[in-house]
């Protein structure tokens, strides 16, 4: 029988990564009704930007900073201005399809510039392990989980406790009223895209040492994050956190106690159950629409 504590901690570490990516889904949906099907590739690309900077001679810490800044510029500002703004006026569906095309373009570009082979990536968490309740838990797992949770907590505090954060929420909930009371809605939406890009870059730095840098690395991650966002609640940041951690832990326990062949089916079964019985997600808010 595998050690449940081991599985729990590993699952939480994976779940924290899913949560970081899942928050992106909720942020972009709330702020700009954008469903970004390239979210997995948004986590894949920053690692390659870091590797490009390292190939140019930069040490890892500098390359990581350059990678995050470039990610914010490309996946935040450029994505918003060059793809979302022109497409959104045509509706949600054309935009969603455009993000699918973007996902393919990103994968093929990375394949062209870096080859289709996996690349090693340095870890920002230390090696070694500690004993928790008799289970040997790696510092890397704890580091990934810790950094992920701190990032999510900081974002929550920012949204709840700062003036800018509250303006972002106002812009997301009712842009028209927000505009009337003087909230710079456009700037708030842009900020949501920038935060999404920064979180994706952070997830990339955390996950790539484990999953390796590869053009296809975002596929599984994007799917897990999408399921996490729906399971948790698409309209709540805290929903993405709950969903991410739940999927991470569930996936590990399913692989250990059900079967490896069906591990991918278990989160999907949960997704179906949530859609059937609690469509707003585990901690989401029910929304009503009128015509």
């Amino acid at each position: 029988m595998s050690d449940p504590i081991q599985l729990l901690v590993s699952g939480l570490a994976s779940g924290a990564i899913y949560a970081l990516a899942a928050i992106g889904f909720t942020l972009l949906w709330q702020s700009a009704q954008t469903i970004n099907f390239a979210q997995g590739e948004f986590v894949m690309l920053p690692a390659f930007l870091v590797l490009a900077a390292m190939r140019a001679g930069a040490p890892f810490w500098l390359a990581a900073i350059v990678g995050v800044l470039l990610s914010v510029a490309l996946l935040g500002l450029a994505f918003k201005r060059l793809l979302v703004d022109p497409m959104l006026r045509h509706g949600v569906l054309p935009l969603a399809i455009a993000t699918m095309a973007l996902s393919v373009a990103m994968k093929e570009s990375v394949k062209t510039f870096f080859s289709a082979e996996a690349q090693p990536f340095p870890s920002i968490a230390p090696s070694g392990s500690v004993s928790i309740f008799g289970a040997s838990v790696s510092l890397q797992s704890l580091g990934v989980f810790g950094i992920g949770i701190v990032a999510v907590a900081a974002l929550s505090l920012f949204l709840e406790r700062t003036s800018t954060g509250r303006q972002m929420q106002a812009a997301a909930q009712n842009p028209m009223v927000a505009r009337i009371i003087g909230v710079p809605v456009e700037r708030m939406i842009l900020l949501a895209f920038v935060i999404n890009a920064a979180l994706a870059a952070l997830a990339s730095l955390l996950v790539t040492p484990l999953y390796l840098a590869k053009f296809s690395a975002g596929e599984a991650l994007g799917q897990a994050a999408f399921i996490a966002a729906i399971v948790g609640g698409f309209n709540q940041v805290r929903g993405a956190i709950v969903g991410g951690l739940a999927i991470g832990v569930l996936d590990n326990f399913a692989a250990a106690y059900v079967s490896t062949e069906y591990r991918a089916a278990v989160p999907l079964a949960l997704l179906i159950a949530v859609i059937l019985f609690r469509p707003q997600g585990l901690v989401g808010r029910a929304e009503e629409r009128s015509v």
Binding site: D3, L7, E117, P120, S141, F215, S216, A220, D251, A256
Partner: protein, 377 residues
């Protein structure tokens, strides 16, 4: 007008009187150039290109140049089948690849129907047991490697209990079947049978299963990227169980990706550029000079596939697509006669290979050959 006629006549005479210009030898390669097997396919392709370049520079095969075309199977048997059909439509002299056993299984009937010899990289035991007279290996099949691995685990590693971690594709299923049979014959107990998925990224649960079974040794049989990921996870979970593999576990790319986590892993390898053989080392130097990285066994396999075509053609003394398979069956090529084949090799009637093998361990990020296993016949 007279000048024009004279010129036309001269041109016509020159055209008909000129000796027939020997046609190039067309070889088609279908390999895993993207997807999960990109490391396999890229090394295989580069090995092929190096061999073709060297053979052509030395005057070609029986005076004819080799021209090779590469197609990407995307590591997908369905795509591989479509690409092989496309390649066969152009009537190649020989088909090279694919490298993945599942893709070989899906494409071998097409090549056999067309009567085209297929020289491939797959290692699943069943591939050469289907009665296909046109299929040839470039490395050992699992039926010949796994008994050696089981012997080493039982006798040298003194393992009484073993965990078997395998990937759920044709390559992994064949390996699992062969190793479990070989281990049981030696009285070794399988205490954990861990199936993983192709392309899997998270190995926490699989490693937890191995850890919980507490075996004397673990046999890890996954593709390259997954091997690197599980080695990292084994280190993360502080698992100190001795690890044994077959070729992929200690491949150059795996060592590069896994870093320190690969140290201590042992494996049987049919081909390694760290082999204590002068010709292999020289091949490695030429490959590194051209591509700027050290190839894994797939680079050697691709290189040798082309050398097999050359040797078979020279045996026939002609370029005859229908005769290549017959020429290869039962053929022994000695490195002393043809140094480009690197090591003495014999092909049997099933297309299986007999050659020296090696038991290696990863020490400080490098393969170190611990034992050389002699050629059987």
């Amino acid at each position: 007008m007279r000048t024009f006629l004279a010129a036309s006549l001269a041109l016509a005479t020159a055209t008909f009187a000129a000796p027939a210009i020997a046609q190039d030898i067309q070889i088609a390669d279908v390999a895993e150039l993207s997807g999960g097997g990109a490391t396999v396919g890229t090394n295989w392709k580069n090995g092929i290109d190096l061999a073709v370049e060297e053979i052509n520079a030395a005057g070609g095969v029986l005076g004819r140049k080799i021209v090779v075309t590469h197609a990407d199977s995307q590591s997908n048997p369905g795509v591989a089948r479509a690409q092989v059909q496309k390649a066969l439509d152009s009537n190649p002299y020989v088909l090279l690849g694919p490298g993945y056993s599942g893709s070989v299984k899906a494409t071998a009937p097409l090549a056999a129907d067309a009567g085209v010899t297929q020289i491939m990289g797959g290692e699943a035991a069943e591939l050469t047991q289907m009665g296909d007279k046109f299929l040839f290996r470039t490395s050992f099949g699992q039926q010949s490697t796994m008994p050696k691995v089981a012997k080493y685990m039982a006798e040298d590693m003194k393992a009484k209990t073993v965990a078997v971690v395998w990937v759920n594709n044709d390559f992994g299923k064949g390996g699992r079947e062969s190793i479990e049979k070989a281990l049981k014959e030696r009285g070794v107990e399988i205490v954990a049978d861990v199936s993983t998925e192709p392309g899997q990224v998270d190995f926490a649960a699989d490693v937890a299963k191995v850890k919980a079974a507490n075996p004397d040794a673990a046999f890890v049989y996954l593709n390259e990227d997954e091997s690197a990921r599980i080695l990292k996870e084994l280190t993360r979970q502080n698992v100190t169980t001795p690890l044994m593999g077959e070729t992929t576990l200690v491949g150059q790319k795996v060592i590069e990706l896994a870093g320190d986590a690969a140290n201590g892993a042992r494996a049987h390898v049919g081909l390694t550029t760290d082999a204590p053989i002068e010709a292999v080392r020289a091949f490695r130097d030429r490959f590194v000079k051209k591509y700027n990285y050290v190839p894994d066994h797939n680079g050697l396999k691709g290189y040798l596939a082309v050398q097999m075509v050359k040797a078979a053609s020279e045996k026939m003394g002609k370029i005859d697509p229908k005769g290549v398979a017959d020429a290869l069956h039962g053929l022994t090529i000695k490195a002393s006669d043809d140094p480009s084949i690197l090591m003495d090799v014999t092909f049997d009637e099933n297309g299986d290979i007999d050659r020296e093998g090696f038991l290696v361990e990863v020490v400080d990020g490098k393969q170190v050959v611990k034992q050389v296993l002699p050629k059987l016949h």
